[in-house]
Symmetry: C2
Amino acid sequence: MNNPIGVFDSGVGGLTVAREIMRQLPNENLVYFGDTARVPYGSKSKSTVLKYSRQIVRFLRTKNVKAIVVACNTASALALDEIAAELDIPIIGVVKPGAKMAVETTNTGNVGVIGTVSTVKSGIYNDYIRELNADITVVSKACPLFCPLVEEGLLEDRVTDDIAARYLQVMKEYKVDTLVLGCTHYPLIRNTIKRFMGDDVVLVNPAFETAKSLKELLTQRNLLNQEKQRPQHEYYVSDGVESFIAFADSVLPCHVTDTKVIDIESY
Amino acid sequence: MNNPIGVFDSGVGGLTVAREIMRQLPNENLVYFGDTARVPYGSKSKSTVLKYSRQIVRFLRTKNVKAIVVACNTASALALDEIAAELDIPIIGVVKPGAKMAVETTNTGNVGVIGTVSTVKSGIYNDYIRELNADITVVSKACPLFCPLVEEGLLEDRVTDDIAARYLQVMKEYKVDTLVLGCTHYPLIRNTIKRFMGDDVVLVNPAFETAKSLKELLTQRNLLNQEKQRPQHEYYVSDGVESFIAFADSVLPCHVTDTKVIDIESY
């Protein structure tokens, strides 16, 4: 089935998930939407994130997507269950695959989760992890400055190290052996996080696990694209094409040209 | 005339402008709108900020406001002229009063302006300042991390000092004697900025100048409220009442109770 897969995020961060999908499912066509006008979602309420996510899903359906990936941790945390119940096509988020991997990885049973304020407040990683193994202790911490630091390009910087040390101190205190990077921006400061946490702590990147889950899902449902021509990807944003393309080119293996601005509020 | 004055901002920052209006016009009723669902505006394009501002003006008009204050520097920079041309009630922004004060303050003719990416890119402070005095040199610099640092509460912190030193170094190099705080969040880290710039540099807070301009405007047009009863203020946001109230209580001289969430996209 050569219909595209819809991938959406609050902005550019979800491109790290799109990248993993392109790697693991190189035959699939993608339609990516980044809500660059209303980014960030990480400080917004459930009702607002749910409303925005519904608008985006309505837009993606106009592109005849065969499945949807919620590439944003906050939207996965606050909106996925409601939207899945309203849809007749498969939809997956990044939280469940990330939680599953954390459970499979930990030896000590102490798992850390970092994310936006809204993701952490939702407690969803804790719920999923404890559902899989009730003996695991989950320590979660919101890191609201990480996204602006990444977007300002301070990936290797003493300020980012300083802030990381404050946010992550609690993870050392609880001796976590596994840390979930519960926001799509965080893998971009993976080195900073690793430097503070040390080599013995495994960093889980939900993007990788999500692409793996997506592949399993499409295989099970017989939805994989069997055509062998080069895939076509389309990109849509709600604002600011230039800065989107600049970021996309730094993240994706292919050059992004075809990016359109749409009026997402009208969906 | 006891109709209220409408004041709007991309979020909570405009409350520093509302506070100045309450001080200088203690008799006036205010209707404040903070677009907390779509904050920040500082990285958005002109067309998006204009669209959002028009929706907000339509909402404020349902409250029968007699005048509107655009308390957001970015919206003042990107949307004020277009909206003023569409309105039959007076509207003022924070940029013009701030620019005027900078021109009156500088002795050396070297003026600095700091603000969001969109405000600085618009070049509007430069335009207004040079319109008033073409001999003035304007140095402007976007400081995108200042807002997240303020919202994270790092008002007095080595990280904020470190970031301020990087952003403001250029202001020292150009020997500015006047620095416009061109974003409503920046007065909250005034001490940090002053520590780096030194006591000889005057920091201009457009909020104060805007309230002064508003008073002049209402006086000229005979729109001042002559009734002597205690003013009533109303607060509206597009998301997250609790965090709005917490911030408002830390900024305003009065306790904020009556805050409602509205669906701004429907205006």
